[in-house]
Amino acid sequence: MINQEQTIPCPTCQHKIHFDTRQLMMGVQFVCSNCQSAIGLAPESQPLVAQTIQKLESLKATMSQKSSTLN
């Protein structure tokens, strides 16, 4: 489950911009509702973020497996 409450402050006006990491990885830009600036992930950083999210998903699967064996 991806956290739906993720925000990042707008570099221009510091207003909170809500974003979704998965959509960010797909190249979606998120617009600041205050100053209309759009932020997106730079193409150079997409592989690193994708790899990290994949590791996180893998960790979650492993943790779920481990916690189910604790009983």
Partner: protein, 208 residues
């Protein structure tokens, strides 16, 4: 290294146990699961979101993001087609700020089972301050076992009455909600997130 395989959990419901243990066991299991997740989460943070420097300090892994906004060209008139042009600048953000970390927790646990009290033992409690004997010096230890009882049938009110007469049966409902991230991790994320400033990292992009 031995491999752990998923095996079906077959608890022995016929075994008599201390009621405190029966009720607390599921919560202890959830707590252990959360501890495992927090441990893995910390390891993940240090391994993928930080790099260890030579002097044993951790530096955040930075990623690049792009900011696009319209810039008004003051050399042109507001009616000109190129009066507002889109400019893109690059800024760096700690990877930690965009990784959805707080999803690693037990979301919600609801456990319900029926318990049958099988015996009650009168046990002396710990002496406190050498005070004289009183009613509080003894405590009751209830033993019981998990039992199965069918769902109450609403069309037959007699069933409910019959169940309420079984005073040795207890219906236990436990619920536990997830905990937020520890304050330390939240503070780190908050500090890094607030520290985002529009500092250009490439020389060929114009400053906003």
């Amino acid at each position: 290294m031995p491999t752990i395989q998923n095996q079906p959990l077959i608890p022995d419901f016929t075994k008599e146990l201390d009621i405190e243990s029966i009720i607390s066991a599921p919560l202890v299991a959830v707590s252990k699961a959360n501890a495992v997740m927090v441990s893995g989460q910390t390891q993940f943070l240090l391994e993928y979101c930080f790099t260890k420097t030579a002097d044993n300090n951790y530096q955040p892994v930075l990623i690049e993001m792009q900011l696009t906004r319209g810039i008004a060209d003051e050399t042109k008139q507001p009616g000109d087609p190129d009066y507002i042009r889109q400019e893109t600048m690059t800024f760096t953000v700690p990877l930690l700020c965009i990784v959805p970390m707080n999803s690693l927790a037990v979301d919600k646990v609801t456990i319900g089972f029926d318990l049958e009290v099988t015996s009650a033992v009168n046990q002396p409690s710990q002496p406190t301050n050498g005070s004289s004997k009183s009613v509080l010096d003894n405590k009751a230890q209830l033993n019981g076992k998990v039992t199965y009882s069918p769902q109450p049938n609403t069309t037959q009110p007699g069933n409910n009455r019959q169940r309420s007469q079984l005073s040795s049966k207890i219906n236990v409902n436990l619920s536990a909600a997830n905990l937020p991230l520890p304050n330390g991790v939240l503070t780190i994320i908050d500090l890094y997130t607030k520290g985002i400033q529009p500092a250009p990292s490439k020389n060929n992009t114009p400053a906003v």
